[in-house]
Amino acid sequence: MKRIGVFICHCGINIAKTVDVEALTEEIKKYPGVEHAENYKYMCSDPGQNLVIDAIKEQKLDAVVVAACSPTLHENTFRNASERGGLNRYVCEMANIREHCSWVHDDKTVATKKASLIIKTIVEKVKYDEPLEPIQVNVTKRALVIGGGIAGIQAALDIANAGVETILVEKGPSIGGRMAQLSETFPTLDCSQCILTPKMVEVSQHKKIKLIAYSEVEDVEGSVGNFKVKIKRKAAYVDQAKCTGCGICYEKCPIKVDSEFEEGLGKRKAIYTPFPQAVPNKPIIDTEHCTFFLKPGKCKVCQIVCPVQAVDFEQQDEILEEEVGAIVVATGYDIYEPEKLKEYGYGTIPDVITSMQFERLLSASGPTVGDVRRVSDGKEPKRIVFIQCAGSRDKENHLEYCSKICCMYTAKHALLYKHRVHDGEAIIFYIDVRTAGKGYEEFYNRVTDEGATYIRGKVSKVYQDNGKIIVLGADTLSGKQVEVEADMVVLALGMVPTRNSEALVRTLKIQCDANAFLTEAHPKLRPVESNTTGIYLAGAAQGPKDIPEVVAQASGAASKAIAILTQDEITFEPTIAGVDEDLCSGCGICVGVCPYNARELDREEMVIKVVEALCQGCGSCSSACPSGAAQQRNLIDRQIERMVVSALEEN
């Protein structure tokens, strides 16, 4: 039987005014298990704490209950004091007789009785409290960043700059992501590539960053501090070590195909780098179009012209294994499929294009060197209609959510178009113009000042009639239907998470929402953390956002990773849920209940294994477990039962 000491605080008169502290002390002294009880005016003061410390030593106490205020205020204070007295901090508990009692009741008899019940429940709790040690995990001081867009680049640079070795895995042949495709960025109109490419170069030259491009994460095992990662490096058919990036291969390659980077508006070769500033600047072979692979053994021009014999048709996919302590997921976004908006004619009307295609038309490095030209005939469009919310805010047919950036990029499109074509007319159909961001409303004002026409109404249909593009719209403010003849139509499409990223989400055992955006651990307080400790989120993979937000979030995710990766070991609260392997039948119910993937079924032994570093101690599993094998430490079923009984005691 434990020797329990109870220390009752007057809190000046805050408690003592409505609770008869003396009588309470006398009563608690008589309660089974209580060896020592005393009261003091201010228990949290130094002399008060010393009372606890001295009593622990003198009375040889095994556990301590401090009846005072809310544990949120002073639990740490008294646990520290208990430690100084030589006790384990987890056998010290607080009974809240102030907020939950003296402050909310007037009648002294009633309040005193309730205070005694509250104290008794906590006395029952500490009877079963066990000394616990914080959980400690050794940390592999390396990070993995998945995705080489601006989010991944920023996160990798931040972590590496903190001195932590970082592996950056990019699916495509080059890092840079979507930002590399953009023309200029709102609201400052910085050239996107001009601000991005230096960062790309920094990544490639950073001593602490290992860039693995044209590769995908295949498997992840382990938990925070110690992840084991398998990365598939796809065969590029070019020996990356030998290749100097001279570019003769793709100059000479005879096969031309639509360039993904140019959104189909330009061409690339079958052996290619996606764009001239690619990092790494080493080409890959697209086997779907390369003659050698379509007609085995034919062509080989690239191999013949390569001055360093880097082209290797025999190259195979390769699996790399890495160990890391934390992971940042920055898998980015795609734009919504324009083909799904059949009423807007994308795919059948050549001059109906996507917002991303328009970015390429505006880009100085794009297929038209920055001139706005029609896809159909190369002429300069004199009137462009921009359709906002193309597929967004449409719960019935398309995306329910607002993609947040389209209002601003459309404003930018209109402005850049007006800069390129001075007599051009920019007509923007919108539902609402959302310009929440620093300098954004000002930017929008500038766009309207420079003559863009905003029409408040959602376009119903775009069609061709006798060679003209007709846009059927409405102006809800004047209550009129409007029909606009346009030379070109730009669909402001929303953001969706990068397609086919669900497999990675499953591999990482993190969660995503109904729209496949990654789910953060808490929408307000833990926005850059996943539900799995040690895996952090950055960029548009978590939800639509613009570049500054992406960069901020990436730095946030990086700092979370750094906080773990700069320690030798990390510690966690030990009040987690364990497994009594003798009781566990391996039914696996708790596995599904756990929000943190902290519980795994060992199929060989048919018992649950707990990944202690992942458990957050909610106790869901304890209440779901049919056999009582899953018990939350220091809040086991027996404790709760005893607390309930004592709370109901008559006195």
Binding site: K342, E343, G345, T348, K461, Y463, Q464, D465, N466, G467
Partner: protein
């Protein structure tokens, strides 16, 4: 093969050509159209008010009648098709209403009837049709006009994609003609506004015919007697309002199918088409 057939009122009056050509085509492909005994009006339009169950009675009774026959009923008129199909959908969704109406009727309906448009039937029997085609229509450039009622509401009608349907074009290709897409093929012709606001119907029909012509069609094919009326009979008035307008022949889908199947001219009902179809048919050597 024998299939229950619901012609509806219009096919016995103003849209006789649709009825005669339907019978001619189906007998040419060896399918007997078994007209439902003692059928009555479908109610003409599906009621949009949700606090009224009365207008569901007529469609339900027709569905019940069809059910006694075979479980499928062929309905060529777009309005009847739409009314029966939506009523059927609603009765299946809202079984409470179905039960209430059933309680008050002699016949009873269990909700399992399948309402079929001839184009759906033809889609299901492509090989059969192909084997019976006698005349090659291949150079005839046909605009397929769907109108509203075959397509919308998509969830309830499930005929084809409401924005870019292709079933009609596939049918036209099947019988050897050249389908020409035109974007206004799914827009409204003016429907029954022709009665109360004729100008609205004239304008709407004019707009979509002009769109079809702009895409180079020789003729427009449709399935709905009301669309047919608006597109065909209003052309004189379109010309008055838009002097540059050039008239264009309109066909029922069953009429061009009949031509392809080599049906005798007297069974095509062409003489009732307001805009003469003969010139174009002669031009393509189809008569």
């Amino acid at each position: 093969m024998r299939i229950p057939y619901y012609p509806g009122c219009t096919l016995y009056t103003k849209a006789k050509p649709l009825n005669t050509s339907m019978h001619a085509c189906f007998s040419a492909i060896g399918v007997e159209l078994a007209e439902l005994p003692h059928w009555y009006c479908c109610g003409t339009t599906f009621t949009l008010a949700r606090d009224n169950r009365m207008s569901l009675i007529a469609p339900l009774r027709i569905l019940a009648k069809a059910q006694q026959e075979n479980g499928k009923v062929l309905v060529p008129c777009s309005i009847c098709y739409n009314t029966l199909k939506r009523a059927n959908y609603m009765l299946n969704e809202d079984t409470e209403t179905l039960d209430i109406i059933n309680e008050h009727l002699e016949e009873s309906y269990d909700g399992n009837e399948i309402v079929l448009h001839p184009l759906e039937f033809l889609r299901e029997n492509e090989e059969l049709i192909k084997s019976k085609v006698k005349k090659n229509l291949k150079d005839l450039k046909v605009g397929c006009y769907y109108g509203c009622l075959l397509l919308r509401p998509q969830q309830e009608i499930q005929f084809d994609d409401a924005e870019s349907p292709t079933i009609f074009e596939n049918f036209v290709s099947l019988i050897g003609a050249t389908p020409i897409d035109f974007p206004l093929k799914v827009e409204c012709c003016g429907s029954y506004l022709v009665v109360t606001s004729p100008d609205a119907a004239i304008e709407a029909s004019y707009k979509l015919l002009r769109n079809a012509q702009g895409n180079g069609v020789d003729a427009v094919v449709t399935s709905c007697p009301l669309c047919f009326y608006n597109l065909d009979a209003l052309q004189e008035k379109m010309k008055k309002a838009h002097p540059g307008f050039k008239q264009i022949p309109i066909f029922y889908f069953s009429q061009i199918l009949a031509i392809a199947l080599g049906v005798e001219e007297k069974n095509l009902g062409l003489e009732q088409n307001k805009v003469s179809p003969y010139e174009i048919l002669k031009e393509y050597d189809l008569l």
